[in-house]
């Protein structure tokens, strides 16, 4: 089995002594769709940041797509994020002034890919999430559900090894939220490895695997 992501004994202590993560070990295999679930303050956001290489652990090892994160510098880490990791955020974080297509193409901006290829890949990614006909719309002309689909397309466009989705339904009504979860399942069926971080037990129960966080510890894995 090839683990896309492996954490071994990871802890994170913030200045001032706050222990956000306490000896967390986990593995995510290629092709998995997993949830990290826990109440706010349980350390799941910190876990997301460490898994996504946005933050380094105080101790323990993080391996992502075969790379030991601790051995990589800022540039190599940024390149790893650019090519192998996709992020989906609760607030979408789309750029207001540019079209959905260009927003998606931004997912390839830092991979030294020429603009024509970026736009071509972005078009395909938009088709995959089912809103190809909205390609030339600006974010403020799209519904919340459509915006999150654009953000998901942006996370997929570089064909990453793993996608982290941070409360992907948090800013959506229940119907759009359900549609987004359905989309994540479809993408996972097509082979994309996805980790969803959420406090929503109901959402977590719809996913094949649930890792439960409490007070910085991994307390359940099912």
């Amino acid at each position: 089995m090839s683990a896309v992501l492996a954490l071994e004994g990871v802890s994170k202590t913030y200045p001032g002594g706050v222990r956000a993560l306490d000896d967390v070990s986990l593995r995510v295999e290629a092709g998995e769709l997993a949830a990290v679930v826990g109440p706010s303050g349980s350390g799941k956001s910190t876990l997301l940041h460490i898994m996504g290489t946005l933050e380094r652990p105080s101790s323990g090892r993080v391996r992502l797509d075969g790379h030991d994160v601790a051995t990589l510098g800022d540039r190599a880490l940024a390149a790893l994020r650019a090519r192998r990791i996709g992020f989906v955020f609760q607030q979408f974080f789309l750029l207001d002034g540019v079209t959905a297509l260009e927003n998606v193409a931004h997912g390839l901006l830092y991979t030294a890919t020429p603009v024509r290829q970026r736009l071509a890949a972005a078009r395909i990614a938009l088709e995959r999430v089912g809103i190809g006909r909205r390609a030339m719309h600006l974010p403020n002309q799209l519904s919340g559900g459509e915006r999150q689909r654009v953000a998901i397309a942006r996370a997929l466009v570089a064909r990453p090894a793993i996608v982290f989705a941070d409360e992907p339904t948090g800013n959506l009504d229940s119907r759009s939220g359900a549609a987004v979860v359905e989309l994540l399942r479809t993408l996972n069926d097509a082979g994309t490895t996805i980790v969803v971080i959420t406090h929503d037990q109901q959402l977590a129960h719809q996913l094949p695997r649930r890792m439960t966080m409490h007070d910085g510890r991994l307390v359940g894995d099912a």
């Binding site: 994020r81 901006l109 991979t111």
Partner: protein, 393 residues
């Protein structure tokens, strides 16, 4: 694993960053544009005006000298010897020579009904028939004095004198010292001798006959060969009065114009300073815009880091925006300055001169200001940790 940002993308990202904040972009670029426009305008106008003066000097000639009476060591006024014009004409390098004699007490009036004390700032002088040619002058109307008209009650008016007396054509009469004189001609203005513009000129013979004046000159105009001006100028006083050369006053009227050109340069320095202050204020405006921009766009910075931007990519994005902003302002400023220069020079009848150094320097200054203004915000944006940047939203 290789990442990277293509050069074209740096520009594209910077441009789209500015496009999404149009009003702010426009206003901060305007600040730079005004600064650059004033610098280019000042340099262009001073170059144009200097060019105008140089052309005027060339047209008038710098080869005109004047010889007048000076003062003795004791402070008394001297007079020029009667023989002075003849001896001057014999000096090697001297071309035309013409003399005038100021007829101090005489006044020129429109009629005998006007108070003799109201001179209107005009004077009456006796003049040689060769004066017009020596001055390279031109008649607006009529003819200059000749041997015949110089003997009778005929008068030629300078440009200013004609205007003040209300005389616009020959044939009219003016009243000089108790007698009517017929106007035979009106001269065009003589920039090197504004004195003559305000004079009514009569012949030496007429002056002697009607006003009892002497024949010695009070001022001698001398044209020298262009390459002999300096030498002639030093020779003239000893030629006129070998015994007391220091009592003869030799000067070069074109020096006054040259001095004006030098004075313009002094003002140029002052205005350049003011322009630089305007530019500095524009630069502070850009720095302010960029600092606010970084504060507002923390989540965008976080997103870009998550998408794989290095610190360097973030830094160059904000620096690029700042440079683009100032470059935009610089370009419009340079264009505006050139237009202002052209329009103003055109109005003054000068040839518009916009020095290429001013154009290149203006754009360069704008970019330097942009780089300086963008550096601190860019470094701040790059230092932001991705987690902090994302959390702030």
């Amino acid at each position: 694993m290789r990442g990277g940002l293509l050069l074209g993308d740096v520009l594209r990202v910077a441009a789209s960053g500015l496009r999404s904040r149009r009003v702010r972009t426009l206003l901060s670029a305007l600040g730079i544009a005004i600064g650059i426009a004033s610098l280019v305008g000042v340099l262009g106008l001073s170059a144009s005006s200097r060019e105008g003066l140089v052309r005027q000097l060339d047209a008038l000639g710098t080869d005109l000298l004047t010889v007048g009476p000076g003062q003795t060591l004791g402070g008394e006024d001297t007079t020029l010897p009667l023989s002075a014009p003849k001896t001057i004409a014999r000096v090697a390098g001297v071309g035309r020579v013409a003399t005038v004699r100021s007829l101090g007490d005489a006044t020129v009036r429109r009629s005998d009904k006007i108070d003799p004390d109201e001179t209107g700032g005009l004077s009456v002088q006796a003049a040689d028939p060769t004066l017009l040619a020596t001055m390279h002058g031109r008649m607006l109307r009529g003819r200059f004095l000749n041997a015949a008209s110089g003997r009778g009650p005929s008068v030629v008016l300078g440009a200013v004198a004609a205007e003040r007396l209300g005389v616009d054509r020959p044939g009219r009469q003016v009243y000089i010292a108790g007698r009517w004189y017929a106007v035979v001609g009106i001269m065009a203005a003589l920039p090197l001798a504004p004195d003559l513009d305000r004079s009514a000129l009569i012949g030496y013979d007429a002056a002697a006959r009607y006003l009892g004046s002497e024949r010695s000159a009070t001022l001698i105009y001398v044209r020298a060969a262009p390459d002999a001006v300096e030498r002639v100028s030093t020779l003239l006083s000893s030629t006129v009065d070998p015994a007391n050369p220091e009592e003869v006053d030799v000067s070069r009227p074109s020096d006054a114009l040259a001095a004006r050109a030098a004075a313009d340069d002094a003002f140029t320095g002052l205005f350049l300073g003011l322009g630089a202050v305007a530019l500095l204020v524009g630069g502070i405006g850009i720095a302010n815009t960029m600092v606010i921009s970084v504060l507002e766009r923390r989540s965008e910075i976080g997103l870009r880091r998550a998408l794989g931007a290095t610190r360097g990519h973030v830094r160059i994005q904000f620096l690029g925006e700042s440079l683009l902003l100032s470059g935009l302002g610089g370009l419009s400023g340079v264009a505006l300055g050139a237009v202002v220069t052209t329009v103003y020079a055109d109005q003054r009848g000068w040839q518009a001169v916009v020095p290429p150094e001013a154009l290149a320097g203006g754009l360069g200054a704008a970019l330097v200001i942009g780089a300086a203004a963008g550096l601190y915000p860019a470094v701040r944006a790059a230092r932001l940790s991705p987690v902090d940047a994302l959390r702030s939203a």
